[in-house]
């Protein structure tokens, strides 16, 4: 299986990077590990994806969550914007 390394960032509703959010594959057409990746201090993460269609999800402490669709073989940065959770509102 060929894995393509993809860079991404998680931002809050105001566009600010979110540290410590967990990113995982919510669904996809290829076999991807059911782990979650933690964003670094700058909200960034790196995930490897096989060829195919994927929806990535991000969840932060407090319940804010967001999603982004991508293709495994693409090369642009994945940007996931979190919606304000009811808890934060």
């Amino acid at each position: 299986m060929v894995w393509t390394p993809r860079n991404g960032i998680v931002v809050d509703a105001g566009g600010r990077p979110v540290r410590g959010a967990l990113v995982s594959v919510a669904w996809g057409t290829g076999a991807t590990p059911e782990v979650a990746i933690e964003t670094d201090d700058e909200g960034r993460f790196r995930i490897h994806l096989p060829e195919g269609r994927y929806r990535l999800s991000a969840h932060a402490a407090g319940g804010a969550a967001g999603e982004a669709d991508t293709r495994g073989e693409a090369d642009e940065e994945i940007r996931i914007q979190l919606a304000i959770s009811e808890e934060d509102a």
Binding site: W3, V25, A26, E34, H59
Partner: protein, 298 residues
């Protein structure tokens, strides 16, 4: 048949595996020496024996066929995680050269924790994990015990090919935490015996409690291949490495028959089913787990 060979991270010496046998094998578990309050959640949630699916999948067209939460999300949070058998399940925080990952593991012996191979070695970690923090019975911010390990083993075929059929690993612990908390029994059952069994999965997903809360679901084995088990049990990222366990009958002890690893994207489309999956414990996998447990006991 493929001979399974154990490989360990560079700081740890490797062990040769044993060769598979054709017969079913059973290894008993332990409830541990620590007193366990009766678990109401275990009494109410765990499924035993064979049966019809608890929640039949929603009709095609009303759900995404790609989600690892299949149809409606039926997971339940486990709050009494220090009761048996929940305390045999652990939250994992995996540090690697490429960042931090969240997964699940389960005790298979006093000093041996089993998990998915990709929790110890994967290209997206840039190879081997550097260290893994193990938190048995974690319940949110409450962590009864936190252990750390830098000694892992997986299979050479996993390291070389990352084939989902061989996605399993062991985390070797310095402290015999299983003596107190217990460990799961393991069983390699024939495919025709597994099909239709009700199975239980509990682990630490990212979308509920950010990998700090234990969430459970149960349903039916839909299909069994040579090396994988496919089931319509809801899971999410972070559940990787969780035990897929069953009770052969009402009085039986919990027995792990697979190690959860993949959402529905890992199920071959030719099967025509929507299912999540894990690595099946077949006799040669059983032997490898036993070898790792014995190695840790020595």
């Amino acid at each position: 048949m493929v001979n399974l060979n154990s490989v360990s991270n560079p700081s740890f010496s490797a062990l040769e595996s044993t060769v598979a046998e054709a017969s079913a094998k059973i290894r008993t578990g332990s409830a541990g020496s620590a007193a366990s309050p009766g678990s109401l959640s275990a009494e109410m949630l765990l499924v035993k024996g064979k049966g019809e699916p608890i929640a039949p999948p929603a009709p095609i067209g009303t759900r995404s066929i790609l989600e690892s939460v299949i149809g409606t999300d039926d997971r339940t949070r486990i709050l009494d995680t220090e009761a048996d058998p929940w305390r045999r399940i652990c939250a994992l925080r995996i540090s690697s050269p490429n960042g931090v990952f969240v997964g699940t593991g389960w005790l298979a012996g006093p000093r041996t924790m089993m998990t998915a191979g990709h929790c110890v070695h994967h290209p997206q970690m840039s190879g081997w994990a550097s260290s893994i923090e193990v938190s048995p019975a974690r319940n949110g911010a409450h962590q009864p015990k936190v252990l750390s390990s830098k000694r892992f083993s997986t299979l050479d075929v996993w390291v070389n090919e990352h084939d989902p059929d061989f996605d399993l690993a062991a985390i070797h612990l310095d402290e015999p935490v299983g003596d107190e908390l217990g460990w799961f029994g393991v069983g390699s059952l024939p495919a025709n015996a597994l099909t239709g069994f009700m199975v239980n999965i509990s682990g630490y997903p990212a979308d509920r409690g950010n990998g700090t809360e234990q969430w459970f679901h149960r349903n039916r084995v839909l299909r069994v291949s040579d090396r994988r088990v496919f089931y319509d049990v809801d899971t999410f990222g972070g559940h990787s490495g969780a035990p897929v366990f069953l009770y052969e009958d009402e009085g039986a002890e919990p027995r792990v028959v697979a190690i959860h690893a993949y959402g529905v994207g890992g199920t071959p489309s030719a099967f025509g089913i929507t299912a999540n999956s894990g690595v099946r414990i077949i006799p040669e996998v059983f032997d490898q787990i036993t070898a790792w447990v014995q190695q840790d006991a020595a």
